[in-house]
């Protein structure tokens, strides 16, 4: 009985002390803490936004080859660090699990893709290009001379069966090379979404 009485007292004491010291609002100390920046130690590489034609500069922070963060490039005089939602979201493309991992092939009539190697893909494309080019090539055609009205045969070197749709979303060098590629293989049928 004595023991329990003593323990009761003890507990009461502790509770009392706690109340005495702890009651009332504890105003949080407003102290500046050391906030670590996740960008520390990152390499900064600039790039250009992939959407509208603004040409806004993006700044990619890279650590150990990994993209840590992407935001507007404050030194680009066009956007001065600003980015619209589309551009600001672009870091989600870097490691998107939805990006196809390797070339894919869909056979005639097939219901799904199958993965193929780059070598196989390029081989198939090149062979098909040659096949179609050979089958649909127009070396010369007859035209009416607008001035004289005479019929004449002209060299046109056209691969009629091949069309190329380029893109306004790839780099200049790529656009240029695509234009060159199309015309070299013989197709003037080369367009892209600038028309849209």
């Amino acid at each position: 009985m004595n023991v329990s009485r003593r323990s009761f007292l003890k507990a009461s004491g502790i509770t009392l002390a706690a109340f005495a010291s702890g009651l009332g609002f504890d105003v949080a100390a407003a102290k500046a803490q050391g906030y670590a920046l996740k960008l520390e130690g990152c390499t900064k590489i600039t790039s250009i936004c992939h959407f509208c034609s603004g040409g806004c500069g993006m700044l990619l922070h890279i650590k150990d080859g990994k993209l840590i963060h992407l935001e507007g490039d404050p030194d680009n005089p066009i956007n001065e660090g600003g980015l619209c939602p589309k551009a600001a979201s672009l870091q989600q493309v870097a490691y998107s699990p939805d990006r196809p991992k390797q070339p894919m092939y869909r056979a005639p009539g097939a219901k799904d893709w199958q993965y193929i190697s780059w070598d196989e893909a390029i081989e198939r494309i090149a062979k098909k290009t040659k096949e179609i080019r050979e089958a649909t090539f127009t070396k010369t055609e007859e035209i009416t001379n607008a001035q004289t009205g005479a019929k004449e045969t002209v060299t046109v070197n056209r691969a009629e069966g091949i069309a190329v749709i380029g893109s306004a979303e790839i780099d200049n060098e790529e656009c240029y090379l695509l234009t060159k590629f199309a015309r070299l293989i013989g197709t003037p049928f080369h367009e892209h979404q600038a028309r849209i």
């Binding site: 109340f19 609002f25 939602p85 551009a87």
Partner: protein, 267 residues
């Protein structure tokens, strides 16, 4: 950093692009949520544990003239933060620069801050038992960068700087904007002890669905300034009385049994 900072949200310049929403997610590494359109272009109409800022749109067609108002919402970082007052575990603190922060190590997700914020900004993740809200990008700010939302804002509707200077900018801009929008007003300059995010609204706060005069709930003041500091004393008082009685009854009993020859009180 000792001076108070401020973000001036000039809704007369905001184009509602939601760039701030995405930049916030990107910087704070917050996952996307599955949404549906709720109304108009609105797919989010409140903060969530993983959405710390969102855009709202308000349409008002008056006298043949359309008003399409828009503003971003996030924690206001009050000068007198109700959330901080409500927090029972001291997880919420305020920096000298004016930012109100939840220390996630201390937060227990009780939600007291959620219920007491006049704008209902903090939100509790019930599975993690942690409450989250805008941090004002304190890590950026303390390291000399602008908050992510400010930094990304293309139309320049968000400006960041020392509070005094920003307020001057805001007031000057208000004068200008009032010429075309007579109801324009600054929202936050003096509210809740002066907020860190101060808005130039083109119309009355109610049009934006905002409380015109947000205050620290009186229940919270009553609770935290009266009940908790003083009311609690009742308990130790009762305890003390019990202890007092424990001894006094026995002392009196002993005294009286001496005088009455050891007879008990006879209960």
């Amino acid at each position: 950093m000792t001076t108070r900072k401020m973000v001036f949200v000039d809704t007369s310049l905001c184009t509602g692009c939601k760039g701030c929403s995405v930049a916030c997610k990107a910087w704070n590494e917050l996952p996307a949520e599955k949404t549906k359109l709720i109304y108009g272009y609105i797919s989010q109409d409140s903060t969530t544990p993983t959405t710390w800022t969102y855009m709202s749109y308000h349409e008002k067609y008056e006298n043949g003239k359309m008003h399409f108002l828009m503003m971003k919402h996030q924690c206001y970082h009050c000068g007198d933060p109700a959330c901080m007052k409500a927090c029972p575990v001291g997880a919420i603190s305020q920096t000298d620069s004016g930012y109100v922060l939840i220390n996630q190590d201390k937060c227990i997700g009780c939600g007291y801050c959620v219920a007491n914020c006049p704008w209902g900004i903090p939100k509790t993740d019930e599975t993690k038992n942690k409450t989250y809200k805008c941090t004002g990008c304190i890590d950026r700010v303390e390291n000399g960068l602008k908050p992510a939302c400010v930094s990304t804002c293309q139309p320049g509707a968000l400006q960041f700087g020392d509070r005094e200077a920003m307020l001057q900018t805001a007031k000057a801009r208000l004068e200008e904007v009032k010429k075309s929008y007579p109801k324009a007003n600054l929202y936050g300059e003096n509210l809740m002890g002066g907020t860190t995010y101060v808005y130039l609204l083109l119309d009355e706060p109610e049009v934006y669905g905002l409380p015109a005069n947000p205050t620290v709930p009186s229940s919270l003041t009553f609770w935290k300034d009266i009940i908790q500091p003083y009311g609690g004393w009742l308990i130790p008082l009762a305890g003390a009385a019990a202890i007092g009685s424990f001894f006094s009854t026995r002392l009196i009993n002993a005294a009286s049994s001496k005088s009455k020859g050891g007879k008990t009180h006879g209960h």
